[in-house]
Symmetry: C2
Subunit: 201 residues, 2 copies
Amino acid sequence: MTKGFLLVISGPSGSGKGTVCRRLLERNKDLIFSISATTRKARRGEIDGVNYFFVDEKTFDKMAADGELLEYALVHGNKYGTPKKFVLDQVNKGEIVILEIDVQGALQVKELFDEAVFVFLLPPSMKELKNRILKRGTESKEDIDIRLSNAIDELKLAYKYDYVVMNDDVDVAVENIEAIIKAEKLRVNRSQNILDNIINV
Amino acid sequence: MTKGFLLVISGPSGSGKGTVCRRLLERNKDLIFSISATTRKARRGEIDGVNYFFVDEKTFDKMAADGELLEYALVHGNKYGTPKKFVLDQVNKGEIVILEIDVQGALQVKELFDEAVFVFLLPPSMKELKNRILKRGTESKEDIDIRLSNAIDELKLAYKYDYVVMNDDVDVAVENIEAIIKAEKLRVNRSQNILDNIINV
């Protein structure tokens, strides 16, 4: 059995990472979606250990302090983080874990877990990025300008990633990520068992 | 346009690299096969610059001395080598160049051209490797033992490569190499142009 890995799928606002990850997981039932820990209250129908790990503030802060979170952030007054243990348990079982996250979060993960595979999703152009942000229609002109300016800053961080995938067509983007997964499974550092088996049998 | 690359496909005797490369090139007409320089005389139907670059000893030795060959070897009294210029010209045009070569040759290329992508083809087992070598039926017991012993030594060098592909089924092996090619095209170090275009437009 080859070793699994954590695949971090990230990109600026408007890169379409949510849509791409949903489609990727629909098409590949064997992929495991990383489950976040959060201090937010469970909503009706949400199950602890399936949708999120629901924890109180004290537990969350202790996890963060003990280095048990690959990244964490405060969003609208609630804390969200990626528990290291869940990811490591799955990877050691040979599973591929998908983590969808913003650029700041991905760079936090890179600091703590460099052996993950990092994919940067690109919008096809700045014009299209602007269209996508405008389409949401929920933000003020000021907010849109901030989002665009952040996106430009974040695009400049793409060189810290392993792969760059353009999300012009969702299906093409997903197929490219599937090829990355297939290739990464064949990486020599994940194939030590195979080599040992052949030489020793 | 993304940058091309050199894909080195290598493995011990009996790994089936010849068959795999032929199938890969049949299925992917856009791949460029690396053309070797040789001091061997052209056979009927062979064309200079298509099958080989036919050169005399003096020219070959000068190319080797000037560092114009990524690797070279003496086989049955004739010299064969991989001209660096041909590979670089194609890679700079964005092409993917395939080089099928034995393990010793691949490690020479790695010394001189580390940015190439290295794939190690594995036989499914030592038993199957022995069967394949025996099936050729052209060698003495002594030759077979030497080939097997060399193959074991060479398997231990697989960790110097980037990818390990098992050649149990030729079509599966070719599909895996196709995924590697697709993924390597998306590597961030080959995507600088794309990033520049998006940010600057």
